[in-house]
Amino acid sequence: MAPGSDYLRNSENDGYRRRLMFLFGFAAFFFLILLTRLFYLQILQGDEYARLSENNCIRLQSIPPHRGLIYDRNARLLVDNRPAYDLQIVPGDARPMAEVLARLSELSGIPVSDFEERLERNRGPGYRAVLLRQDLERDVVGILSARRYDLPGVRIDAKPRRQYMYPGLAAHLIGYLGEVNAQELQRPENADLRGGDFLGKTGVERVYDTILRGERGGRQVEVNARGQVVRILQTVPAKPGASLYLAMDQDLQARTEALMEGRVGAVVAMDPQNGQVLAMVSSPSFDQNLFAKGIGTEEWRKLVENRHRPMENKVIQGAYPPASTYKIISAMAALEEGVVDSGTRFFCSGSHAYGDRNFRCWKRTGHGSLNLVEALEHSCDVYFYQVGQRLGVDRLAWYARAAGFGRRTGVDLDHEEAGLVPTAGWKRRRLGIPWQGGETLSVVIGQGYNLATCMQAAVMMAAVGNGGTLYRPQVVHEIREAGGNLVKRFAPEVTGRLPVTPENLELIREGLWNVVNRPTGTARRIRDPELDIAGKTGTAQVLSRKSEDEESSSRPGFEPHAWFVAFAPYRDPKIAVAVIVEHGEAGSAVAAPIAAEVIRSYLKSGKKADETGP
C-alpha cells in the first residue's frame, strides 16, 4: 500500500473508526434496553397483559360536564339542567346480541326494531357504546337497573340535559342547544367535543358556549366479560361551566311577551345609561325544550315553514324601513348642516312637487306652516321633503351612520343584521344606475332603500335620551363560576356619540316630548304625566310607493309596519324602547301603546325595587 493512502487512513478515517465503533456500541446498548423492556412486557408480564386484552378490559368512560346555568338580572333561574338517563349498548359485550335485545325490549317496552335501527345506523367499532334511547322514563330506569346482571353490555348513563324553566320565554335571546355537526367539530375551539355532544346553536347559548360548556372529565375503568365495571382505576372529575347572569329582567320580559302575544314583530328595551338589554322579544316565539330533547323532523318543519318566521330574532335580524322614526336623524342632519335652525318654517299644503312627481304628506289636508319642533310633533312629511332636498342623500347618510345605522350594534348575539344606509355611491355600485333626487325625499322620511333593525333604533333612542352617548347593547351582565365567584362583570362600552350639539339635541328632544305630551302630537293617546315619555311614531310602507290610503288599512298582507321608539322619563331616562309590529298599520295606534305599557311596567317595578332595595 502506498504511503500516501496509509497516511490518509491513519490521520482521519482511523480516527473516525474508533468513534464509529463507539457509535455502533452505543446504538446496540440502547437496543438492548428496548429488548429487555420487551422481554419484561411480553414474557414476564405477558400473562397479565393477555388477560387484560382478553375483553379489552381497560376502558375509558367520559363524564359529561355540568353546563353553566342562566339567570336573569335579579338572579332568577331561567335555564337549568336536569338528569336524564340514556340507554346505551356496547355491542362487543352484548353477547348473544339477539337475546339481550329481546330481553331489553321486554323489560323496557321499546320494540326491538327501534334498537336494531339505531345499531344499524351506528356501526362503529364493537367496543364503542351505541345510544339506543335518549331520556328513559324513571320507572324503566328502575326496572333495567334491577335486572342489569341479565343484560350484558347494556349501560344506563346519567347525563345532564338542558331545561328551559319558562318555555318560550326569551327564546331568541337565550337560544337553544343542538347536537354538534361535522362542520362545527372541525373548529379549533371545539377540539374537546365529540359527535353526539350538544352545543349552543343560537342566542347566548351559542355566543357564550365555550364559557357555559365546562370541561369533560372521565374515568379509566376495568370491566368484566359482561362489560360491567369492576374497578375504577383513575378518575378525572368534569369541570362545570360558568353561569351567565343576563341583563334581562324576567318580569319585564314576560310582560312584554304578553303584550306581543298574537302579533308579529319585535320589542327591545334597554337601559339608556349603560346599554344593558332589559327585555328582548321577537314574536312569535318557540319552545326551546323541543331542541333540548332533540327536535323531531315534523316539529322542525313546522317551525321553519311558519310564514311568521318564529326562529328569526326579529330584534337584530329583522331589517325594516325605519319610516318616520328616521326623522330624528334627518332633523339632526338638518340642524347640524345649517339647512334649518329652530326658527326656520316651511309650509305644508299636503303635498310637495319635486321633478315630475308630487310627494304627499301623510295628512292630505296639510299642516300649514311649521318649524322643526312642530314638524317632529306632527311628523310632517313635507317639512322633511324640504330638508331632504337641501341636504342631499350623502350628507344625510353620514349622520345616519354616525348614529349607528347601517352597521351592527355589536350586541353579544349571533347573526346580527347591519341594515342599510343608502348613498349615491352605493346605488351606483349595487344597481348600476345613478341616484335620483326624488329618492332622497323618500330616504329622508325613512322610506326607500333604508333598512334598520329594532336594536339600532333602540340604541339611537337611548342616546337621544342620555344626551348623546351610543352604547353597545349588552345582553349578559355577569359571568360567575359554578360556586358563585365573579369571573367577569361587563362594563358599559361606548361605541360613539350622536353627531349633534347639546343645543340642537335639546330641540329634537323637545319635539319628541311633544309627540306624546301635546294634545296635537301623533302619540297623544299614550300620554301619562307619571311616565313622562318622549317618543316617535313610524308607519313603514310595505309597498315601495306610498299607497293612496295613508295610515289606514290597505290590502291584507300589505298593511304598513307600525314603529314606536321612546325613552322615559324625559329628564332622567331609565329605559329606552323600540317596538315594531309587522303589518300593525299605524305606529300611533298599535306600537305606541305597547311601548307605553313596557315603560310603565318597568318604571313601576323600579320604584318598588328602589323602595325595598339598597
Binding site: 411480553q42 367499532p125 367496543y127
Partner: protein
C-alpha cells in the same frame, strides 16, 4: 460523465434492507387497517404504497447527482426548509389542536420531517469546514446552535415539542461525534445543568403542568396515559410468538389511537410477539451498522458527517418511537422509520437512504 464504477459500487445490501423494512411496515399496516373491520381504512394502505413509490422515485432521482452538490446547496436547502416551516405557521392546516401540515393540492406535507434532513446537511457542511482534527471550542458551537434554534422555535410553536427536541438531539449527537475539547464539554454540561432550574422558575404554571404531563403520561389518564396503557396491553399480550397475522384484538377494536402512525409497533408486537419484535430490532441494528459502514468508507469529511448525521437521525427515531410505545419515554410525535404510516416521514427516510447510497457509490470518485 457516467462512470461504470457507480454501478459496481452500488450498495445493493443497504437498498435491500430498506425495502425489507418497508415490506414489514406494509404488512403491519395492512393488519392495522384491516383487523378493525368496521371502519374502512383501506385508503391508508394504498396511500402508503403511493408514498413508497414517491419516496423511491425521489431517492433514485437524488442518485443522479453527486452528494457533494449538497455541500454547495446546503444553505439553500436549509433556507427552503425554514421557509416551508414559516409557511406552515401562516397557511398551515389545523389537526388535533396543532398546525403541522401544509396543504398542497391533494396532498399535505409535514415540513418538520423534511427539516431533519436539511439540518443534517447544513451541520455536516459546517463541521466539515471547521473540523481541524482537534476538538471543537465553545465559539465553534455558536453557529450550529443557531442553525438548530431557528427550526426549533418554528416547530415548538406548532406546537410539536417532540420533533423540536429531536432536532437538538440529532444536532447534539453529531456535535459529539465530531468531538469537543474536554473543557468545552464540561462547560456545556455545567451550563446546561444550571439552566434547567432557571428556565423552570420562569415558566408559567400551565406550562409546567404541560411539561410534567409530557414527562409522565400517568398525569393524563384520559389522554396519553390511556394510550400508553392500551399500548402496553397490546405489546404484552403478544407474549412470545404473538397472536398471529390479523389476530390482534387491541388494535382490532380501535383502542389504539394513531395505531397506524406512531403506535404501529404495538400492532406488530401484538401479532408477532417477542420474536417478531426481536427480528425487527435486529433488522434495524443491521441497517444502522450498514449506514455507519458507509460513513466509515467515505473519504471526505462532509460525506462522513452527513452519513453519520442521517444514521444518528434514524437511530433516535427508532429508539424514541419504540421507547415511547413501550412506556419508557414520553409520548412524542416521532414515527418509526419505514414502518409508520405517513407520507412526509416515508419520503424523508427514503431521501436519507438515497444520500447514504449516494455517498457509498461515489466513495472512489475523487473530483
Amino acid at each position: 460523465m457516467f462512470d461504470r464504477r457507480l454501478i459496481t459500487h452500488f450498495d445493493w445490501g443497504l437498498l435491500a434492507l430498506t425495502l425489507l423494512l418497508g415490506c414489514v411496515g406494509s404488512v403491519v399496516l395492512y393488519s392495522a387497517v384491516h383487523a378493525g373491520g368496521s371502519v374502512n381504512h383501506d385508503g391508508l394502505l394504498v396511500r402508503q404504497l403511493f408514498w413508497f413509490a414517491i419516496g423511491g422515485g425521489v431517492m433514485l432521482f437524488s442518485l443522479l447527482f453527486s452528494y457533494k452538490r449538497l455541500d454547495q446547496w446546503g444553505v439553500f436547502i436549509y433556507a427552503g426548509g425554514l421557509l416551508l416551516l414559516v409557511g406552515v405557521m401562516v397557511f398551515g392546516r389545523y389537526g388535533g389542536g396543532a398546525r403541522r401540515w401544509l396543504v398542497l393540492g391533494p396532498i399535505s406535507i409535514q415540513p418538520s420531517e423534511l427539516m431533519k434532513i436539511a439540518l443534517c446537511i447544513i451541520l455536516a457542511r459546517y463541521f466539515a469546514k471547521t473540523f481541524t482534527g482537534e476538538g471543537l471550542r465553545i465559539r465553534d458551537l455558536v453557529q450550529p446552535f443557531l442553525l438548530v434554534l431557528f427550526p426549533f422555535i418554528l416547530i415548538v410553536q406548532q406546537p410539536d415539542l417532540g420533533t423540536a427536541i429531536l432536532l437538538f438531539i440529532i444536532g447534539g449527537s453529531l456535535t459529539l461525534f465530531v468531538g469537543l475539547k474536554r473543557h468545552t464539554f464540561l462547560t456545556l454540561m455545567g451550563a446546561g445543568l444550571a439552566c434547567v432550574p432557571m428556565i423552570w422558575f420562569f415558566l408559567k404554571e400551565y406550562q409546567k403542568q404541560r411539561i410534567l404531563t409530557f414527562l409522565d403520561p400517568g398525569r393524563d389518564p384520559l389522554g396519553t396515559g390511556y394510550h400508553i396503557i392500551q399500548s402496553k396491553i397490546a405489546i404484552g399480550s403478544g407474549q412470545l410468538f404473538g397472536k398471529g397475522f390479523l389476530g390482534g384484538t387491541q388494535n382490532a377494536l380501535d383502542f389504539l389511537p394513531e395505531q397506524h402512525t406512531d403506535f404501529i409497533l404495538s400492532v406488530l408486537a401484538e401479532e408477532w410477539g417477542f420474536v417478531g419484535c426481536a427480528v425487527l430490532l435486529f433488522l434495524y441494528l443491521l441497517f444502522l451498522a450498514w449506514s455507519l459502514n458507509v460513513a466509515y468508507r467515505c473519504r471526505d469529511a462532509f460525506g462522513t458527517f452527513l452519513a453519520v448525521g442521517i444514521t444518528v437521525m434514524n437511530f433516535w427515531h427508532i429508539f424514541i418511537n419504540m421507547g415511547m410505545v413501550m412506556g419508557l419515554l414520553p409520548v412524542v410525535g416521532v414515527p418509526l422509520p419505514m414502518v409508520s404510516y405517513g407520507g412526509s416521514s416515508v419520503v424523508t427516510m427514503f431521501l436519507g437512504v438515497g444520500i447514504l447510497l449516494n455517498i457509498s457509490m461515489r466513495r472512489f470518485i475523487v473530483d
